[in-house]
Every structure is written in C-alpha cells, then in structure tokens.
C-alpha cells in the first residue's frame, strides 16, 4: 500500500486529521490525529494494511489536563511509519484496547497503564507489567514527584 492510498484510507476515518510529515525531520511519514473512540477502527485498518504496531506511548499534558496516546505503526514491506495520536481527559483516561487486533499491544497497553494510569477498556488483563504488582502510582504523570 502506497503512502497516498494509505492517506486516503485514513482520511475516511471519522474526525481524522492526516498530515504528511517530513521523515527526515519528524521520523514518521504520516501523523494522524483522531478521536479516541475511533482507535479500534484505526487499529483494524492498520492491521488490514499489514502494519505492525511498534509502540504505544503516553504523554501527560498537564497544562491542558489531557493525556495523549501515540500509536506508532510501521510497515515491514514499504517502510512507512505512521504515528496516530489521540487525546483523552486526564481524570478518566480511557480508550478501547487494540490488543484483540494487534496482540503485541497487550504489553504496550499494560505498560502505559502502569506509567500513566490509562484504562484500556476490554483489555484481557490490565495488571502491572513493569511496576510492582501492588503499584498504585503512575510515575510518568507530570505531577508524580521524583
């Protein structure tokens, strides 16, 4: 799937803003901003386009009281790299899991849950992965003192 095809496919997603970025400056080819409820649909689309999930990253925007979740997708055949981002509220960060489509997301989501307290609804077992099993803190939140 070429970059142009992918862009048109992604633009069909509800409420998506697709920006073509300069790979030499940003490190990604496409940057998509999307509503959090469309994430599973996006994951399915990326899976159909034979993209691999590379990582799930959270970013805590304390000033905006929002948490951003960035999904990094790569294609092993075309080398296209796509970053999809969505924002959820900081009080109740919730987004649907994509581990049913990309099983590799299971661990990435558990990690993001550890670090940011993001709840991935529908996740098979959202228990701490890297933090101790009784950890009730989220170290990568900006108001976590350390």
């Amino acid at each position: 799937m070429t970059l142009a095809e992918l862009t048109t496919r992604l633009q069909t997603l509800q409420g998506s803003t697709v920006t073509a970025t300069d790979h030499s400056k940003q490190g990604v080819n496409l940057d998509i901003t999307i509503a959090s409820n469309v994430i599973p649909e996006l994951a399915r689309l990326m899976s159909e386009a034979k993209f691999a999930l590379e990582a799930i990253t959270g970013v805590d925007w304390l000033a905006e009281q929002q948490i951003e979740i960035v999904y990094d997708f790569t294609s092993y055949t075309s080398g296209i790299r796509v970053a999809a981002r969505t924002r959820v509220s900081r009080e109740t960060p919730e987004v649907a899991t994509i581990s049913d489509v990309h099983p590799g997301a299971n661990w990435h989501e558990r990690e993001s849950h550890d670090f940011f307290g993001i709840t991935f609804t529908g996740h098979p077992g959202l228990i701490p992965l890297l933090l101790p099993e009784d950890a009730d803190f989220h170290p990568l939140r900006k108001d976590y003192g350390a």
Partner: protein, 372 residues
C-alpha cells in the same frame, strides 16, 4: 516436531522458570503451565530490572541522560546511544559532520558484531554446548579492546555526543580494525564447522520454534527474528539514517522462521557488518568529528520527533518531545526485545520445554533492555 501430547487424563502443573534460572539470561521469570514436558502456557513476567529510564530521561538534562542509554541494552550499547543522540539531533536540528557519522557507523557495526558473537556463544550454552562461548568471547574481546581504545569503556559506552563523537579515531584503531576484520573472516569457517555443521545443533534448531512473518507483524517483532521469518526489513535500508545509504551491504533473510534461520541471519549479519566496516574505513573522510556551535546546555525548540535505528536486536526507537527547556518533556524508548519477547507466549504453546528454551535463546533477549 510432529510429536503431540495425547493423554486422556490431563493434569497440568506450574513451573516458575526464573527469575534466577540459567536459561533466562538475567532476571526474567516465565510462569510455565506444563502438561508433562509440554508447555500449555508460558507467561513471561518482567519488570525485575525496571529502573524507569523514561522518567530519568524527563527529569535530567539531555546530556545527563546520555550515559543512561548504555545501561539498557548493555550488550549493544552503542545503538541505544545512536538512537538517542539521533533523536535529540533531529529535534535540535544539529548536523553531524560526515567523519563523525562514519565513525559512528564503524563503531556501531563493531558493536553489532560483538553482540552477535556473544549471542552465538550464549545460545550454544542454552543448548548445552559450552565451548563455542569461549571462542566467540575470544573474538569479542578483540572488538572490546578496539572500542575501549576509542571510547574508554568496554561495555557501557558513552561515546556519541550531540553533534558527533567525543573522540577521533587514530591510525592504530584503523589498522587494528582491519586486522580484526581479516581475523574474524578467517575464523568464520571454523565457527561453521564447530556450530553450524554440528549434527546435534542442527537437530535442535532446524524446524524448532517456528515464528511466522505474520506473528512478527502482529507482535511488532523486528531484527533478526523478523528477518529469520523471511521479511527483508532492516531500518538501515527501510528508513536510511546516518551514512548507511553510502554502503553496499545485503540484508540476510531466511524464510524458514525457525531457530536455525535466526542463527543463520545473525551469522550472515556478522559478515555483512564486516563489509560495512571495511567500506567505511576505505571511504573515511577527513574533517572534524564534532559539529561546531553545539550549545553547552542544549535546549531544542518545541517539537516532537522519532528516531529509529537498527540495533543488534531489532528496531530501537526513541520518541522525544521537547517543550523548549533543557530537559525532555517525554522520552519514549522503544526497545526491540520488549516486542520480541511478547511473541514468546503465543509461539511456545505446545512446545517441549527444551525446545521452548531454544526458542527463548534464539530471540536474543537482553532483559534490562526489556525492563528499561
């Protein structure tokens, strides 16, 4: 193997493989649910070596975090540094002099060879053969000596700087590296005679632990694991960084997807890395090794970028977000072993314990890299 567990009365039991177990190469724990010697379920439990590197990346300055990168994948430490300085340079818009890029390629590829040699020896230990480890260590020792002469460290290198490298290489290093290349080339047939052609080794690797390209894609597996599954994906080719486009090298691919394929990919990569190093030494340009005007206290402009490198274990990615201060706002470190281990649970199902450990060994895991 076509052996299947056929028992009418099935009773499973749980074995804790690790956190201290000879085959887990560090503090990895795998909760095995066994049916006799067959694995019903293998759940990796990680985090014993967790140090919250990403938080450290956020609450110390860019330069202060630099040595930390070598403490993740300590077997191939230069790749982590390469990814990190690459991301910060991209954020801050620093251009690296060509000579420095060449030196980075030379040292990083030497590190890749060292890492693969260590893996080959450690993998053989997983299979119960002890001797090859000492031979690979003998060769790896030469690399460490070379790298020590320029970086000052033997394992946790902190050699790359924002805008170049901290130390220029000298003629002695160049001569030593050339000598090492011819030495290792002459020893490769010995390794193939000792390991590759060994009948027991082949029986234990061929057809064992198959990983398909689709499994790799669904779990995000990269590196030799992916190339051993027949996918010619290498970040050096797919998203060329540094001066890699100037070199002629192949990406070894084996379609079988078994332990043998992963072994062969790594052994071929050693040869390809030697080719890259040789070309880089031939073409090595003169000039400075540090960019001019790199501020002492780096404050990259507001922005976000990703930088991915092909580490010895797969694609290592850094996503850096700057808020304009001297500390990163977010420093996501994507480790290849993390994804490579996550596919173990699915792939080891129904395997025999010893085969599963061969599979685990062939993934080339560095546990502190997973735990970060």
């Amino acid at each position: 193997m076509s052996i299947e567990a056929k028992s009418i009365h099935r009773e499973t039991f749980v074995i804790n493989l690790g956190p201290q177990h000879p085959a887990t190469h560090g503090v990895l724990r795998i909760k095995l649910t066994m049916d006799g010697e067959y694995i019903d379920d293998a759940e990796p439990i990680i985090g014993y070596g967790h140090r919250m590197q990403e938080k450290m990346g956020e609450n110390r300055t860019y330069a202060k975090f630099l040595p930390n990168t070598a403490r993740m994948d300590y077997v191939a430490a230069l790749f982590n540094s390469q990814g990190y300085v690459g991301a910060v340079e991209r954020l801050a818009g620093i251009t690296v002099p060509e000579r420095a890029e060449y030196i980075r390629v030379i040292t990083a590829e030497l590190n890749r060879v060292a890492s693969h040699l260590l893996w080959a020896g450690a993998f053989l230990i997983d299979l119960g053969g002890f001797t090859p480890l000492l031979y690979t260590f003998d060769d790896r020792e030469q690399i460490l000596d070379l790298l020590e002469s320029v970086t000052g460290a033997r394992l946790t290198f902190c050699y790359y700087r924002f805008g170049g490298v901290c130390n220029d290489i000298d003629d002695e290093f160049v001569a030593g590296t050339r000598q090492f290349i011819s030495r290792l080339r002459s020893r490769m047939p010995m390794y193939h005679a000792l390991i590759t052609k060994n009948i027991i080794f082949r029986k234990r690797c061929e057809g064992i632990g198959p990983i398909t390209a689709d499994v790799c894609r669904r779990y995000g597996g990269t590196g030799p694991v992916l190339r051993g599954a027949g996918v010619a994906y290498d970040v050096r080719k797919a998203e060329p960084y540094s001066v890699y486009p100037q070199f002629d090298f192949n990406v070894p691919v084996y379609p079988e997807g078994d332990c043998m394929a992963r072994y062969r990919v790594r052994m071929d990569e050693i040869v390809e890395s030697l080719r890259i190093i040789e070309q880089a030494l031939d073409k090595l340009p003169a000039g400075p090794v540090m960019a001019e005007k790199v501020p002492r206290f780096l404050k990259p402009p507001k922005g976000e970028c990703t930088f991915t490198v092909e580490s010895a274990r797969g694609s290592f990615g850094v996503r850096a977000i700057s808020d304009g201060t001297d500390k990163a706002y977010r420093m996501k470190l994507r480790s290849p072993c993390f994804s490579n281990l996550s596919l173990f649970q699915e792939c080891s199902r129904g395997m025999l314990l010893a085969d599963a450990l061969a599979l685990l060994g062939s993934l080339d895991l560095v546990i502190p890299d997973i735990d970060r």
